[in-house]
């Protein structure tokens, strides 16, 4: 492949980007552990995120055991149940999804896809991972402290988060807030790297509009995260001070068990604003990289150029900006000026427009494409369906009058699990099946992959579709046990039991995936440098897996956009971005107008 990059068309130096000094590893430790190579850091991020994600998966099993078969598992008392839901939510949203998309995929893919040797600040990048690991360890430590982890719910609303009735009030909440602060510090270090690398280290010819949508998604999400995480940081620090120093940022005057507490004058709503100013962009911080990755998967595996590339880029940017002005739709029931409710409902519904543009463009990319139903494609298709499903229930909840009765019911749980649980996880799996050959040089086993996909996909629907119905019945979320309730028929319990059984099965299917990851490392089919015959730069590296510095002696030069698939008149059905020979102009122009 390096011939393509440097051979044809004469030697054109990639002179526009100054060569960077790479820190060279001097032994096993600096190569594999304290590595400053973005690829190694990306793998470290991914493995750590998957490991802590397994903890969250087990927690969800325990929750489902309680909900499906209440009273049978005596060790799941209400306290433990609250701790499980809290840790499950926080781990999945922050420590798994955010870390895996930005830290994992971002680190591995950005330098390779834009044709850089590495991130621009390799040392800071390494530090970012180690602080993330520390944050994870602090979080895990909270399982082992007296009183256990916090049970305040993943939103950690004060005042209850730090009052004595809440589980983990002594240590758990302190460690949780500390861990979040560490995560944000670590993320900021990494995030600055991703942004500046995209801005500064693109190789010659890689204009912004020639970047693969994966990079656009991760880039925009990182900018958003850099601006949104400070809100969580401020909230976490203030609550930490409330808990440890007795300040009253969020704590109103309170009487607990007949005793007046020393707090007074704080505003709990203030925390909700800060939390959701982070919390809503967070949804898109997870969704935008997923949008980008899925665009590339679909284009590659349907052998079609992405439909409406410009629209896709604009939609990513617009969604990113809009997501900062919708946060209070999470607070309709907290009490607010009706005008604000109107404003936030409107902005929330407007986001549906750029999002729908993306969905239509994916469908039009698939239209009459040469669709290869391999595992990455299956997961990409699964994502589109799931995301549309979850997005549609978002239209319900975005309207104040519909949200108020549905608030805090299982409907909300089903909605956000569809839209930002299952859907992004589908993309993560799709991405791993897609890029695993580049990372290891071997293919993941196809049969295991297909079993994994179908069990996960069908299972997710078996879990979350009925859950909407439970929510419409009025089954509340976050209840340890609902017992005898006049408006909930007894049959709801059967449905709950069914959901729990499926959840156990879907969880088990993930073990198959993990097994596949390790099994294929040794026994997987040899993949070669470009098994999917893809156009983007990461598949054109001289070595597979790419070596230190990615590109051998010279940086690649980019001559075209990332989606030249099935170009009429071209030798193969794909033209790599660094291939200088132009496609016949009349055909290329005709294609564009068609």
């Amino acid at each position: 492949m390096s011939e393509l990059a440097h051979g044809a068309g004469g030697p054109i130096p990639a002179a526009e980007v100054p060569e960077m000094e790479l820190p060279h590893p001097h032994g096993w430790w600096t190569t594999y552990v304290f590595s400053q190579d973005a690829k190694v850091i990306g793998i470290q991020y991914s493995l750590t995120a998957l490991a802590i994600g397994m903890v969250a998966l087990v927690l969800s099993w325990l929750m489902r055991l309680q909900l499906g078969f209440p009273g049978i598992f005596s060790f799941i008392d209400p306290h433990a149940y609250y701790q499980f839901i809290t840790m499950h939510g926080m781990i999945m949203v922050v420590y798994l999804l955010t870390a895996l998309f930005l830290g994992g995929f971002g680190n591995y893919l950005i330098p390779l896809m834009v044709g850089a040797r590495d991130m621009v600040f390799p040392f800071v990048n390494m530090l970012s991972y180690w602080i993330y690991l520390l944050a994870v360890l602090v979080l895990v430590a909270s399982f082992f402290v007296p009183g256990g982890p916090t049970g305040a719910g993943w939103t950690l609303y004060p005042p209850q988060a730090i009052l004595s009735g809440t589980p983990g009030r002594d240590w758990g909440i302190v460690l949780m807030l500390l861990s979040l602060c560490l995560f944000i510090v670590g993320f900021t270090m990494g995030g600055l790297n991703y942004v500046v690398t995209v801005l500064q280290a693109r190789t010659r010819g890689m204009t912004l509009m020639r970047m693969p949508l994966t990079v656009w998604g991760i880039f925009t999400a990182t900018v958003m995260a850099l601006l949104a995480f400070p809100a969580l940081f401020v909230g976490a620090v203030m609550m930490l001070l409330d808990r440890l120093l007795g300040t009253s940022f969020f704590m109103p005057t309170l009487v607990e068990m007949g005793q007046q507490l020393r707090y007074g004058g704080g505003s709990p709503i203030l925390f909700q604003h800060l939390f959701w100013f982070f919390g809503h962009p967070e949804v898109y911080i997870v969704a935008l990289p997923a949008f980008g990755i899925v665009s590339d998967l679909i284009s590659t595996h349907a052998r079609r150029n992405i439909f409406g590339y410009r629209m896709m880029v604009w939609a990513i940017v617009i969604i990113g900006a809009l997501s900062f002005v919708v946060w209070a739709h999470h607070m309709y029931v907290s009490g607010m000026n009706p005008w604000f409710g109107f404003f936030f409902a409107t902005t929330t519904l407007i986001i549906a427009i750029p999002t729908a543009i993306k969905v239509y463009n994916w469908l039009l990319t698939l239209w009459r494409g040469n669709i290869h139903l391999n595992v990455p494609m299956l997961f990409a298709l699964g994502f589109i369906v799931t995301f549309v499903n979850g997005g549609l229930t978002g239209l319900f909840l975005g309207n104040v009058v519909v949200d108020v009765p549905l608030s805090d019911t299982m409907f909300v749980v089903a909605h956000f699990h569809m839209v930002m649980g299952v859907a992004p996880v589908m993309v993560i799996f799709g991405g791993i099946y897609h890029w695993y050959p580049k990372i290891t040089g071997r293919m993941l086993d196809d049969t295991m992959g297909k079993v994994h996909f179908w069990v996960t996909f069908l299972g997710a629907y078996a879990i979350f579709f009925p859950m909407h119905y439970l929510g419409l019945l009025g089954v509340p979320r976050r209840y340890h046990e609902i017992g005898e309730t006049s408006f909930v028929p007894a049959s709801a319990q059967d449905l709950n039991a069914f959901i729990s059984v499926v959840a156990l099965v879907v969880g088990a299917a993930q073990m198959l995936f993990l097994f596949n990851l390790f099994w294929s490392l040794r026994y997987g089919k040899d993949s070669g440098p470009n098994p999917w015959r893809a156009t983007t730069l990461e598949w054109q590296t001289p070595e597979t897996p790419p070596g230190h510095g990615n590109w051998g002696r010279e940086l690649p030069v980019v001559y075209r956009w990332a989606y030249d698939y099935a170009v009429p008149g071209a030798e193969q059905d794909f033209v790599p971005q660094n291939q200088p020979l132009p496609a016949p102009t009349h055909i290329a122009k005709g294609e564009a107008t068609a």
Binding site: V17, F249, S267, V557, R560
Partner: protein, 234 residues
């Protein structure tokens, strides 16, 4: 949250302006691969400068969010801010001095005068340490007068905001110290870049401090701003 939204709007406008210059309207699928198609970029700005710019935007976001929280709390009836020690005026002067000194250090190193740069850097660093000590003294004075963080939210906000600002300055001092150690040996170009980064960061922290100090000391009523922004909703 008006302040936050205004700040965010400013950042978004900046981002859109930048994006509008990046050829987002081009049709990449028509670019058929000749190298001449590729626009040549001008002399690249050092990555470190862009990185620092991004970092300052993140810190600004942090401080703006804090100020937003502060102003939201301020509107409640029982708001009772602590008196501002006169020492803060002296501290502000010292921080201005530090910023000016670092600016002079940059100018000196541009002219290739390491000695002048060294002394200016020393003045800047010393003044910054003095500022941090002054802030601690102001804390002591307030605490001595009975204004403790646990008393009421206004006091707590004062300590939190000054502490976060101070911590960022201390972080800057670490970078400044590292620049100081390589003052004699480093090539001039590198030294100039390091000093420019330090100076920009100090100017930023000074500007941030002036805004924070103004808000803490005078609690300016921003009703007019809120009225202006919510006018379309009435």
């Amino acid at each position: 949250m008006t302040g936050t939204l205004l700040f965010f709007g400013g950042l978004a406008a900046l981002a859109l302006w930048w994006l509008s210059r990046q050829g987002l309207g081009t049709k990449p699928w028509l670019e058929t691969g000749a190298l001449g198609d590729v626009p040549v970029r001008g002399t690249p700005v050092p990555a470190a400068k862009i990185g620092l710019g991004m970092f300052m935007a993140v810190v600004a976001m942090l401080l703006v969010l804090l100020l937003s929280a502060y102003s939201m709390r301020m509107e409640m009836a029982d708001w009772n801010p602590p008196p501002q020690p006169a020492l803060l005026w002296a501290n502000t002067t010292v921080l201005v001095l530090a910023s000016v000194a670092l600016h002079r250090a940059v100018r000196a190193v541009r002219r290739g005068r390491r000695d002048a740069a060294a002394s200016a850097l020393l003045v800047g660093g010393g003044a910054s340490i003095l500022f941090v000590l002054g802030q601690l003294l102001a804390w002591r004075e307030l605490a001595g007068a009975g204004y403790l963080p646990a008393n009421n939210p206004a006091d707590a906000f004062y300590y939190l905001i000054t502490a976060l600002h101070g911590l960022h300055l201390v972080g800057g001092l670490v970078a400044l110290g590292r620049t100081g150690t390589k003052l004699r040996r480093a090539p001039l170009v590198r030294l100039q870049l390091s000093l420019e980064l330090c100076a920009s960061y100090w100017h930023f922290l000074l500007a941030a401090w002036i805004v924070l100090f103004f808000t803490l000391a005078f609690s300016p009523p921003l009703d007019w701003l809120v009225a202006l922004c919510t006018a379309p909703l009435r």
